[in-house]
């Protein structure tokens, strides 16, 4: 009963947020620049939350998330531009293929741990990028033209579904199993948790939503190029998760929103942009080494106030 109350609380906040922004857009009060920023923000939130499931919840240090973003982007673009499919179907197709790519990458590499897993996922992401780079059907290095179809509605719905599914997963029995793996894989094994299954499952679900983000990304910029999906992009996503606090979903969301603001406003100063961006990161890490929220969620902060108890 209490749980469903919380759920409806969030649902109402989300609907109000959506309606307000949508109204502003309909009345022409948000120019394309800001609309773009909002969509980018949603894309970053989806990327951060999906990688949070892999790194923050399950503890698998994957740093090749941009690879799955690329799969979602290219597959959805092929669906709309070459096959003439509707955008919503293209998003789904991009996500499913990204998930399959996640399974393909995850099954062999999730046997590895720590640094080795990081290197393997980074390598796989580069392979994916280079494959697209060398397929003329999708334009090779020159990139692929994509019509603009992403709207605030698509971006928002995609983000809401991503957060809903990943937070439900985390709070379920399956999520507990994933957290146990993060905490101590050997002990999790000894409890009878099928650790390989859950690692691969978390990876596949994470890749699926990176694919959704990729589809919305592809249809927001008129063109997609392999260079956009290099390891720097993977690091950008990783930064969102680390900055938010490893293990905190709301932290990942906040970090994604915050850094999208920072980097959008810094676009006016291209020379100093990277310097200021890096400074912001260094400052946050100096003063909050566990990230903005640590492993806590925003709701924990309120609970703490009300009851004065520790983590529930």
């Amino acid at each position: 009963m209490k749980k469903s109350k919380v759920f409806w609380g969030y649902a109402i906040i989300a609907l109000v947020l959506y309606a307000v922004v949508q109204t502003l857009i309909s009345f022409g009060m948000v120019n394309t620049h800001y609309q773009n920023m909002l969509i980018t923000m949603c894309i970053n939130v989806m990327l951060a939350v999906s990688l949070h499931l892999v790194i923050g919840v399950t503890g698998q240090f994957s740093i090749g998330h941009a690879g799955f973003l690329a799969v979602g982007a290219y597959i959805s673009a092929i669906c709309t531009m070459k096959l003439g499919m509707p955008f919503s179907m293209a998003i789904l197709a991009g996500a499913v293929v990204a998930m399959l790519a996640g399974l393909l990458v995850g099954i062999p590499s999730l046997r590895l741990r720590g640094d080795y897993l990081a290197i393997a996922t980074l390598g796989f992401a580069e392979i994916i990028r280079i494959v697209f780079l060398n397929i003329d059907y999708v334009g090779g290095a020159a990139g692929m033209q994509v019509t603009h179809q992403s709207t605030w509605t698509y971006a928002f719905v995609g983000t809401a579904i991503t957060i809903l599914i990943i937070s439900n997963f985390t709070n379920s029995r399956h999520g507990r199993a994933c957290i146990a793996i993060r905490e101590d894989e050997i002990a999790a094994d000894a409890m009878g948790i099928n650790t390989t299954y859950y690692k691969v499952a978390a990876f596949a679900v994470g890749s699926f939503f990176a694919g959704v983000a990729g589809a919305i990304y592809a249809h927001n910029f008129y063109i997609i190029q392999p260079t956009a999906f290099g390891f720097l992009k993977s690091f950008d996503i990783l930064i969102l998760v680390v900055l938010g606090g490893l293990g905190s979903l709301s932290g990942a969301v906040l970090a994604a929103i915050f850094l999208t603001f920072v980097s959008t406003y810094l676009q006016a100063f291209p020379e100093t942009r990277m310097i200021i961006y890096s400074l912001v990161l260094i400052l946050v890490m100096l003063y909050r080494p566990t990230g903005l929220l640590g492993t806590k969620e925003i709701t924990d902060l309120f609970k703490f106030r009300k009851k004065g108890g520790t983590k529930v």
């Binding site: 050997i186 094994d189 009878g192 108890g309």
Partner: protein, 235 residues
């Protein structure tokens, strides 16, 4: 209840167990003592399905379990308290205990067993909302044992439960092992503290470089000169 028959276990090319055989009967406390690196933890990991023997067989309640996955072994009633406690540090005491019952579906039974664990370890109840990473070493050991009991095991494998504990706490832990055993759980206990282990056990095995070199009732081994010299620190 448990019959290990001539098993070889390897880590890559390194052979850790060499033709090891032993037996545990229902209701017993059997202890396995041996120096560092003798292969004690390796044996427990093999029994609980974390490692697979290359040769030989393991029989539990009449059916072969060698090569089976850890899940099905836990389900069959063998639970493992791993070396070094390995509690889930960023989870509360209660969440740790819940994970111990991960494979069980009987909510009522889980609740009852949790209350029982709290009876055995009142300290855990006092701290049931505390993050387990902030417990003391002894409390973490209690939690590791409690978590293993939550799986409702018939056979519990304990890997050096006294490691790093103060003498009083060691005594406490061994008392609890005896209590758990009296409630009907069979115990296979790996220990460095041979003195204590032999005083609670019914039977014992001595392991040296992957082989059983001595076995007998705990009394016999306590009085054997070899054991005294090598493991009890005196002549």
């Amino acid at each position: 209840m448990l019959k290990v028959n001539d098993i070889d276990v390897y880590y890559g090319n390194i052979q850790a167990l060499k033709g090891l055989s032993l037996e545990v009967n229902e209701g017993e406390i059997v202890t396995l003592i041996g120096a560092n690196g003798a292969g004690k933890s390796t044996l427990l990991k093999t029994l609980s399905g974390l490692l697979k023997p290359k040769r030989g067989s393991i029989e539990y309640l009449g059916s072969a379990i060698d090569g089976k996955a850890a899940q099905s072994i836990v389900k069959a009633g063998i639970s493992h308290v791993p070396e070094g406690r390995r509690v889930f540090a960023n989870m509360t005491v209660e969440e740790n205990l819940e994970l111990g019952a991960y494979l069980r579906k009987d909510r009522e039974g889980i609740k009852k067993d949790m209350e029982h664990v709290y009876e055995l370890f009142p300290r855990l109840f006092e701290r049931h909302k505390q993050l387990s990473g902030t417990l003391s070493g002894g409390e973490q050991q209690m939690l590791a044992m409690g978590r293993a009991l939550m799986a409702k095991p018939k056979l519990i494998l304990m890997d050096e439960p006294s490691m790093g504990l103060a003498p009083l706490m060691v005594k406490n832990i061994f008392n609890i092992i005896e209590m758990v055993n009296k409630e009907g759980v069979t115990v296979l206990l790996v220990e460095q503290n041979a003195n204590m282990a032999l005083s609670v056990a019914h039977r014992a095995y001595v392991l040296e470089t992957g082989k059983i070199v001595l076995s007998g009732s705990a009394k016999e081994l306590q009085e054997s000169d070899e054991v005294k010299a090598a493991y009890l620190g005196g002549l």
